[in-house]
Structure formats: structure tokens, C-alpha cells
């Protein structure tokens, strides 16, 4: 169960980005590969706990799970694995360990709003 460590890293990276742009984070969008070693449910649970007391408190974590995609030399094509217990091309059965996607642990976007400290003055 290292999802709490991962959640804390997500918050750290997201907050760095937010602070640099002077914005407040409503949600963090994350790509999570099937081979990342991280379980989505456990991560969502940990995220809420890890957020408390940080500037990201109350923000959402939006997870997009990424399937395992390999390159099959025999088909000369990218294929989505049907099972992570069987690293073979789902079409022709050729074994392959050439991984293209599936290890993602990537923040792709932040839903943010500008921090409005004062009401606009003199606006029409």
C-alpha cells in the first residue's frame, strides 16, 4: 500500500504548478497505467486524506486508466493486451515485451480558477 506516498507526490507536483501560476486547483487529472503498480480505488481514498490541510483540500482526483499497449513485431502494429498475465499479441499470439503504454503515472491537466483577491475596480 504505497498509494498514500503516491497521493502525496501528486499533491506536491500539482501544488508546485498551481503556485507557479497563482491559481487554485479544483481537480487533478491523472493518467494511471495498468502496469504502474498503483490501484485506482486505493489512490482515490488516499488522495482525500493526503489533501487535508493542504491548499488542495477539497479538490477532486480524476483518474483515467490506461490499458497496456505493446508493439507486435510480427503484425508491425500496436496492440492492446487482453490480459496482463499474457504478454502476447492478441491477434497473432507472438510474445512481446515491447511496452508502449501502461506504466503511466502522469498528471495531464489541472482544473483551476484564478485566485481573485480583490473585486475588479472601475469595470463597466
Amino acid at each position: 500500500m504505497h498509494e498514500l506516498s503516491i497521493a502525496m507526490s501528486i499533491i506536491e507536483v500539482a501544488q508546485e504548478e498551481a503556485a507557479r501560476r497563482d491559481v487554485k486547483v479544483d481537480a487533478v487529472h491523472l493518467e494511471l497505467g495498468q502496469l504502474s503498480g498503483v490501484v485506482a480505488e486505493a489512490l482515490l481514498f488516499s488522495y482525500e486524506i493526503a489533501c487535508s490541510g493542504t491548499p488542495l483540500e477539497g479538490s477532486r482526483l480524476v483518474i483515467k486508466e490506461v490499458p497496456i499497449e505493446v508493439y507486435c513485431a510480427a503484425c508491425n502494429a500496436r496492440k492492446i493486451l487482453s490480459s496482463m498475465q499474457w504478454f502476447c499479441c492478441p491477434e497473432c499470439g507472438t510474445p512481446t515485451s515491447e511496452l508502449i503504454h501502461g506504466k503511466e503515472l502522469l498528471i495531464t491537466a489541472l482544473e483551476v480558477r484564478d485566485e481573485c483577491r480583490t473585486a475588479p475596480v472601475g469595470s463597466p
Binding site: 504505497h2 491523472l30 496482463m84 480558477r113
Partner: protein, 232 residues
Amino acid sequence: MSAEPRLLEVRKNVLKHNDVTARMLRERFRAQGIFVVSLVSSPGAGKTAFLEKTLTLLHPDYRVAALVGDLATENDAIRLARSQAPVKQITTGTLCHLEATMVERALDDWEIEGQETGDLDFLFIENVGNLVCPSSYDLGENLRLVLLSVTEGEDKPLKYPTIFNSADVAVITKIDLAEAVEFDEQSAKANIQAVRPGMRCFTVSAKTGAGLEQYLSFLVGRLAGVTLKSPV
């Protein structure tokens, strides 16, 4: 009142801090000519016995040292020290895996026989016994070994494909017990190949020494690949 929400595109690796440290470590090891091997397995798969044997057999001819990670106790470091090789314990407290910064910190204040770690040929890093969490963290190693003992059953690779996928070489340990537990070596190897086609696999016994020669020649061959340093 806050402004309207908007979507900001960023592409940031969640473990970028770990990855940056791991890259720095890898570069430092390369410059120093050190070949770094990490070991992962479930608790009780025989990492420490296997590593003790590895250190003992390499120690006369090569400069070797080991870092060993555990949640608590210095027991493994004490066991490994019997090999006469320098050993340092990393105690993680409640953390279930090693991270690159822990390796960096452990190396920073470590002098081996009055020398800095830069004089080593091999550095071994024994991770915390866990087949899940260590898979996400790069430690700057050149080679990651995943150990599987015959008592764990032939289908371990199918249950933990992620860690087998993050490793470079598989080692089947405690082969001296194979008969007693009716271990099917061919089936275990087929399962390793199913989750990681082409994965190199060694079958060993730290107790009888079976299979260790092939594994050690493989390591020495890999060391020669990264450095032209000759043995002591």
C-alpha cells in the same frame, strides 16, 4: 468570489522528484564505474541468504558493498556483514519500499574502509520485502533482480506481473527444497515468460550453492560492460 474554472494542460510525472534523483544516481554510478544491482521479492523469499552468498563469493575478487532496506531492525545488515563486505542498513519505518533519495542519503555519509563509495565494483541494494510497492520506484540501479522462492508456488509471476515487468532478471531461489514442495520449475519459468517474454532466469540455492556460478559469471560479465576496471 473566484473566477470561472478552466482546464490547464500540464504533463508532469507524479514521481518526477524520485526519477530526477534516480537519474542523478545512475549517472554518478556510471562515472564511478560501479555496477548496481537491486533485489526485490516477497518477504521470506531468501533475498538476504542469496545476497550474503553473492557478497561472500564476489568479495575476494571484487570490491562489493550492500545497502539493505527493512521496515525495522538491523538484523539483515548483521547477517550480511558475515560476508566481510561493507553493509549499511536503511530503516524505512513504516514505508513499504525504498525511494531514490533514501539510497542517495545512505551513500552520502558512508565511507568504506576509508574510501568513498566511488571505489566499488558492485553495489547491491536489497529492497523491503514486498512484491507490489517497489515496482514504481527507480533507484538508479543498472539491474533489478526479482526473486521467487520455490515455496511460493509457480504462479507468483501471474499474480504479480507488474513487479516482474519492472525487473530485468528473475531468480528462482531455494531450489534445494523443490522436491519437498513439489515445485514445477518448467511451469514457473513458463509463467515468467508469459508476463515478461525473453526475461533471463537463474535457478539457485544459496544453501547448496547450486546455480550460483552461472549467475555470478553473468554479473561479472555485466560489470565488464560498464567499466574497464580490473579486479583488485
